[in-house]
Subunit: 419 residues, 2 copies
């Protein structure tokens, strides 16, 4: 049997634009991998009458209602009360949950539980309790007249935990079989080109399915299959993932991986190599992204942000003759930066970046987006020129440059053709 | 007269969780500064029947409906058609708009306009046209039975432009007076402490109003006033902004500014000073944030990411004796890093960061979140110890450390007490 869900987010802060409704995105993504169709998202303020009206509308058009928010201890947290009124359920006090909340306050906050937190221990009669180890508000679920109502807390961190660990197991019981999905990550091919190459499977397949997701500067595809067992689902996915790899070639940089820098870090770790970075226009962004990852110190030695010619020459040893002859944004400077960086940081490999991030051109009139990326190893130094960011501003030039650095490293380490 | 708005986002990609509904946040924030109350957000897929039902519900409970998305050229872009059907309007072809779209394709895409783009030049009879210089889909608005319906394109960049430059002027005509707001930025005081200090004005004021907005690692307050003229609104805001400054003190780092690093960059520029950075645990994040800002090269000389002792000693000149005696995460090393960085980069000021970002402690068992920040000038070197991130993981330690670096610089440059 197929299910239709509606998400109702409760919170005036959403209607004021203080925050975006990221809970809805997270839950929708999760529901789609469970094979549950979402027809509507609704956002309503901390207002019992309007919430009640939204619930009345939702129960007519969905058989799964998931609410987020309004489970807190204050007077404007009224989700449970309003749902119970609308669905004619009583609330009852759970002494054990009250005790847990009291303990939570003592341990985490080192203070006595304020009295109004008592209402968090009130839950609908006969509900499935979703206990909450990451906050004070438990969630819950019940079924009434064929409609399942699930209540989750609003803060994104709590909501994600409670959805993944409490709501998903509850919802799995309503659906038959197992759903498995894989994320295929693509860099170096635009979304429209990817869709053109995979138009067939994207539009015609029903199980498994293939769908594109927009990411900054890259494309992510999700392949999803439903079967009686995880093994059977994997069998359905295998040929699809293979087909995607064949159609797209080496722009597929990984399946179920976090990012290009994660792939590069893993490759370096496997080969026992270390890296250092010399950056001009990216100003530390490449080093920042490598060191975002835990355990970076085993593969990353350090970096130099050479924002002036003085730093390029005195720290990295780029000769002043080269700087004045070719200008800072040039292939010879990128090569010398990489070689110098490798030497001073004592790493196996070094990458360098010099380019024009904008908004203005450099003093030689080099256009915004022009970037040289160098790569030095013990054996050789190479350099590639890029045009990054396509006129979409400084931030895009920098992000896209960093992506190109990591893709160049990936290709170098895997001995793939360097684009 | 006060207005009530409902936002309807059209797009199956939102219901699949491919993207978050950031358009709704942006528009809601804008409407709140216009004094227009938003009661509901609705998200619906590319489905004419369900969109039509959503419109029927919305027209009963709002007098301003703003739709986003579904104005594109493909078969599933059906917002205009569905709205016209629901509100009994005809669509008519605008030859001049068609010509503009043709020209846009020739100029921007260097290709002939595909035939299905013709439908983008079809608009409701008698509507106000919102021409779109940043894309091909024009928006529009009309009034029917006391309800204003505004249609905006979905892609966030286009939507923001069209909202700010087309929808806002249209909506201003519906509201009396002028609304002015100021953003007050706060670092170094938690949201609950800020709310406690300003509980009075936040809960009792109606014009002007004061509302808190959640930001990463800081607090933003927005003061908004409505009056007949901008000058009169400013007069209403002045005492409120003064009161906030008095209540909160020097944790207010700016009004209508972009970020702490922007304030620091501006202070450096005014004083004609330059900066360099020596980073361990932040791994380039501080340099990255300074160089995110256009024009950074006038105040930023460069930086060193010293992820190993070798780089600390060979590039920054930190003595090996100090490193082995005190360990890399220590006050003497932070001081030596700042002094060395200032020397090799040739800057007036240098900041240094050494700490434990986690997930593990360092080899001496220093707890995650322990950070030393050094600051060297010609006259002196100082250092402060922090406990950053409060156990919320590597990313939070790094972000919070960078914030502390910029706040230390701000306080130093303004001769405020260093916390």
């Amino acid at each position: 049997m197929s299910h239709t869900a509606e998400l109702i987010a409760v919170g005036t802060e959403l209607l004021l634009g203080n925050i975006a409704n990221t809970d809805a995105q997270m839950i929708s993504e999760g529901l789609s991998t469970l094979g549950i169709t979402v027809h509507y998202h609704t956002v309503v303020g901390d207002n019992p009458q309007r919430l009640s009206e939204a619930l009345e509308i939702a129960r007519r058009r969905a058989d799964i209602i998931i609410t987020t928010g309004g489970l807190g201890p204050t007077y404007d947290d009224l989700t449970k009360q309003t749902i119970c009124k609308t669905f004619h359920r009583e609330l009852e006090l759970h002494e054990d949950i009250l005790e847990e909340i009291r303990t939570w306050f003592q341990k985490r906050m080192q203070k006595k539980m304020p009295e109004n937190n008592t209402q968090q221990a009130m839950l609908p009669v006969g509900c499935t309790i979703f206990d909450n180890p990451v906050g004070t508000a438990p969630g819950c679920a019940f079924e009434e007249g064929g409609v399942h109502v699930l209540m989750l807390p609003g803060p994104p961190f709590e909501c994600r935990y409670m959805f993944e660990n409490r709501a998903v197991p509850y919802l799995r019981q309503l659906t038959d079989g197992v759903i498995v999905s894989h994320e295929i990550r693509v860099y170096g091919m635009g979304e429209s080109a990817v869709e053109e190459k995979l138009h067939g499977p994207m539009t015609t397949l029903t199980n498994p399915t293939l769908a594109p997701y927009a990411k900054t500067n890259e494309v992510m595809l999700r392949a999803t299959a439903k079967a009686e067992t995880a093994e059977a689902a994997e069998e359905l996915l295998k040929p699809l993932v293979r087909q995607v790899r064949e159609e797209l070639g080496d722009v597929v940089y990984g399946v179920d991986v976090g990012s290009l820098e994660e792939v590069v870090s893993e490759l370096l770790r496997k080969r026992g190599l270390t890296l250092s970075t010399a950056e001009s226009c990216t100003g530390g962004l490449v080093a920042k992204r490598i060191t975002d990852l835990p355990g970076a110190s085993s593969i990353f030695r350090g970096g130099v942000v050479s924002y002036t010619d003085k730093v390029k020459s005195e720290v990295l040893g780029v000769s002043e003759a080269i700087l004045s002859k070719y200008g800072a944004v040039s292939e010879p400077v990128a090569r010398a930066m990489a070689e110098g960086c490798r030497r001073v940081c004592g790493s196996d490999l070094a990458v360098s970046v010099t380019g024009v991030a904008g908004p203005g051109t450099d003093e030689r009139g080099t256009p915004v987006g022009t970037v040289f990326i160098g790569l030095a190893s013990e054996q050789e130094t190479l350099c590639r020129q890029y045009s990054c960011g396509r006129g979409r501003g400084r931030s895009r030039v920098r992000t896209s440059t960093a992506q190109n650095v990591f893709d160049l490293l990936r290709r170098y380490l895997l001995r793939l053709p360097l684009i």
